[in-house]
């Protein structure tokens, strides 16, 4: 290379006495060397930055794709309820209990916590109501010591919280004239360490240190129970200085999928279900917005072009139990048969495609989902069945309320103007700077603070500084992936940002190590996706490989992966991690799946079924968890078969009856136990 040799010869040309140079390099040479090193350093950092960014992209796109799948799970539950047959003779199922609460929370639920005995041997905190600072302090200490609060106190706490929340309006109005600076925190997602770090850095909630927590306290992290309990006790202790907004994860159906339900059932084997019932009530009673000085609006997700704060103030917020339980409409009953027939027709052409995303699978959505789209008056996606010719029904009051709340909890800001449905997430909208401006002007506001999206620095501004995203769970995707942050705002209403990062390793990782760890973890997650869609990927690739050489061009390879997986990622840049190149520069696509054989030791299972099982393992786990009431790890073959059939019918997957029975009989205990344990698949 030119530069290299010229430098070398240059050096040699300048040197008169070799030993002299060894002692004192001339200044010019030193300078040259310095610049060279600096350029190399810059190149190294740039490549590291690139790796960090695509790692981030991988995590985020998989996360949002997962939330899209959530829509499918919940539609499955609706489907199950619609076609429900009692799986167990002993009274109403947890499914219906969880999904169709019969008791109106306003009437109060008799918890009978008084009757729950607390054994002498229990060494955890014993709360006394009304709470005092000694209660909150003892809880802080107990949770730091990994103790669990006894179910009796949890139930009592939730019961008291419900009573308090019922008195609160939908929108909390705060003023900085009575208080010092207000601290605003974003998503915590069960990260107890982050919450404790915030309390340590910023102070415990008190009259001097008021807080607003902007939703998503639970799910994903392992200490959701502890986090939410701490927030609720401070809410009870200082209702004037502690404020909570509801997030999209304060939702019992989301909890089924993202870990909170499981965590509660694991920590509270006997009373878990009662506790979950009360959490459901508490979550739906949480206020949905906070306004500071009439100028700063704080909501969890965002807004839409239809957001109306006055309307929001007036509705009965607790009626929207879950964003994922679509409002039942009077029309649906009439159309169910027709649409189901159409669904079946649609499914037969689409084999084992999951109905999780976008335009292709519209024909597989349940009547509820399609109605929702109609009601939104946004027909961006082509409809493949005759329902699209039906005039959208007049929106009912209940639906309007539901949509307003879902928009608040699920929307994301975008750079372009306008407001479009948030297909990425499956709920809420993407709102542009014009939508923000209109809302702010309309209500005399000057700033919107929201959370809902993980940001690398813990916070991010957009829409010309009028929208702030604040996210308080550091290392959300992976150790070192991002900082957490909180905002402090005082009388002058100028936000100040405070960042932090919880570190579990005693020796601080260098940036390189952090990026490498995060990258490895992201690639692993991505490879799991590859495996889940192996058949589709292979058949897509084979369409570009007519001669069956096993090779395709890089472009074709990238094209297939992008369209099958529906993840907007830099595929060419990632290719070296995923597939081998042949000597002629084409991709040996089978190398993508090389190290994926292990893990499915069920020879009688067809590849199709194995893939399907793997893809939906989380959903299947949840369903088994629900059916297995006593958490013994065992369910009856009948229940298994029945549920599996329902699930596969819903998905439109053809599963041989015999295969299901074989699966059940031969591997039942082992399989279920391992499912209980987590992600290990057998």
């Amino acid at each position: 290379m030119g530069c290299g040799t010229s430098v070398a010869t240059e050096t040699q040309g300048k040197i008169v006495e070799p030993d002299d140079t060894a002692k004192t390099p001339c200044p010019a040479l030193t300078m040259k060397a310095a610049v060279l090193i600096q350029r190399w350093y810059r190149r190294y950092m740039a490549r590291l930055e690139m790796r960090r960014r695509y790692t981030w992209n991988i995590f985020q796109s998989i996360e949002y794709a997962g939330e899209q799948d959530q829509l499918q799970l919940s539609s499955f539950f609706s489907f199950m309820l619609d076609n429900f047959t009692q799986l167990n003779e002993n009274g109403p199922d947890l499914i219906s209990q969880l999904l169709d609460p019969v008791v109106d929370p306003w009437l109060g639920r008799e918890t009978g916590y008084n009757l729950i005995p607390v054994p002498e041997s229990y060494s955890g905190p014993r709360l006394s109501f009304p709470l005092s600072v000694s209660d909150t302090n003892s809880l802080l200490g107990a949770f730091k010591e990994q103790q669990t609060l006894h179910a009796r106190y949890v139930l009592q706490l939730l019961y008291e919280t419900k009573k308090l929340l019922k008195q609160m309006p939908n929108i909390t109005h705060l003023s900085t004239s009575y208080t010092n600076e207000i601290t605003i925190c974003g998503d915590l997602h069960g990260r107890l360490d982050d919450l404790l770090l915030i309390f340590y850095k910023n102070g415990l909630p008190s009259a001097e240190t008021p807080y607003v927590f902007n939703g998503d306290f639970v799910d994903r992290g392992k200490k959701s129970v502890e986090v939410v309990i701490l927030l609720l006790v401070y809410l009870l202790l200082y209702p004037d200085y502690m404020h909570l907004n509801r997030g999209n994860h304060e939702d019992h159906i989301m909890n089924l999928r993202y870990g909170f339900t499981r965590e509660v059932m694991q920590k509270y084997k006997t009373h878990g279900r009662e506790i979950l019932q009360l959490f459901q009530d508490v979550f739906s009673l949480l206020p949905i917005a906070t306004v500071i000085d009439g100028k700063i609006l704080i909501v969890h997700g965002g807004i839409s072009d239809q957001t109306d704060l006055d309307f929001l103030s007036s509705i009965e917020r607790h009626k929207v139990k879950s964003a994922l339980r679509f409002p039942r409409r009077s029309l649906e009953k009439l159309d169910i048969d027709q649409s189901q027939r159409q669904m079946k027709r649609g499914r037969s052409t689409a084999s084992s495609r999951p109905s999780s995303s976008c335009s292709h699978s519209k024909n597989q959505r349940t009547p509820n989902q399609r109605k929702r789209r109609c009601g939104q008056r946004r027909q961006d996606m082509p409809f493949l069945d005759s329902l699209s010719s039906v005039a959208p029904p007049l929106p009912l009051q209940h639906d309007l309320e539901w949509k307003q709340i879902v928009d608040i909890l699920w929307s994301d800001p975008k750079t372009q103007e306008g407001c479009s449905p948030n297909i990425f997430r499956g709920g809420g909208c993407y709102f542009g700077p014009d939508v923000t401006q209109r809302l702010l002007t309309r209500h005399g506001l000057q700033l919107l603070i929201r959370s809902h999206e993980c940001k690398q620095e813990g916070y991010e501004l957009c829409h010309g500084g009028k929208v702030i995203t604040i996210f308080s769970a550091s290392n959300y995707y992976e150790e070192g992936s991002n900082r957490g942050a909180y905002i402090k705002v005082g009388r002058e209403l100028v936000p100040r940002f405070y960042q932090y990062q919880v570190s579990h390793t005693t020796r601080k990782l260098t940036l390189t190590q952090r990026v490498r760890v995060a990258e490895g973890s992201a690639l692993k997650a991505l490879k799991e996706k590859l495996f889940s869609h192996r058949s589709e990927l292979l058949s897509g690739l084979q369409q570009y490989d007519h001669k069956n050489t096993g090779n395709v061009s890089v472009s074709d390879w990238a094209q297939v992966f992008e369209s099958v997986l529906r993840l907007d990622l830099p595929w060419r840049t990632l290719r070296p991690h995923l597939a081998r190149l042949a000597p002629d520069g084409s991709v040996e696509y089978k190398s993508c799946f090389e190290d994926m054989e292990s893990g499915i030791p069920l020879p009688q299972v067809t590849p199709n079924m194995a893939e399907t099982l793997f893809r939906y393992r989380t959903d299947i786990e949840i369903i088994f968890n629900i059916i297995d009431k006593d958490h013994s790890g065992l369910i009856s073959i009948e229940e298994f078969r029945h549920t599996w059939h329902l699930f596969s019918a819903h998905l439109g997957v053809d599963i041989d009856d015999r295969a299901v029975d074989d699966l059940a009989r031969k591997n039942k205990d082992q399989q279920l136990n391992e499912k209980m344990d987590g992600d290990k698949y057998s």
Partner: protein
Amino acid sequence: MRGTSFIFGPIKAEEAAAPAVAAAAEFPPAEIEEFKESFGLFDRVGDSQVGYNQVADIMSALGMNPTNKAVVAILGNPSADDMANKRVTFEAFLPMLKQVDEMPKGTYDDYVEGLRVFDKEGNGTVMGAELRIVLSTLGEKMSEVEIDSLMTGQEDENGSVHYENPTSLGLRSTRHMG
């Protein structure tokens, strides 16, 4: 900036020679697609453009090794304000990348040669402390934070860096692209 112009001295002679050679072939389409992907990774705004102040980094990430001065010249010597605010599309970026591509590139061996300058005893080590001072005071000065991230864990108990060690300073991995 006298130093840098000196460094460009010998190279300029080569650059003068370059145009005489037939204009280097365009990047192959597959490579352009890859550049486009990387370009997109750096777009934080969502308008399919990147800021002037990101151009040098992206070029570095793509395996070129331009000095800041070279990039500023290619961008048309923008003001500090322009550097902070102006953005460039991929179509405008690609020819810039080509220009840089045609400039003589440094290799890993050059980098080792650069370090060897500071190897007073000729034994494959340089004093970490000396390196730090040089990197922060000469050429395109590095900040303390940058130097720290480069040097962390590299110095042995005597404060020396064994630069000929394949993993020294973590820079070896950038030898090959991709």
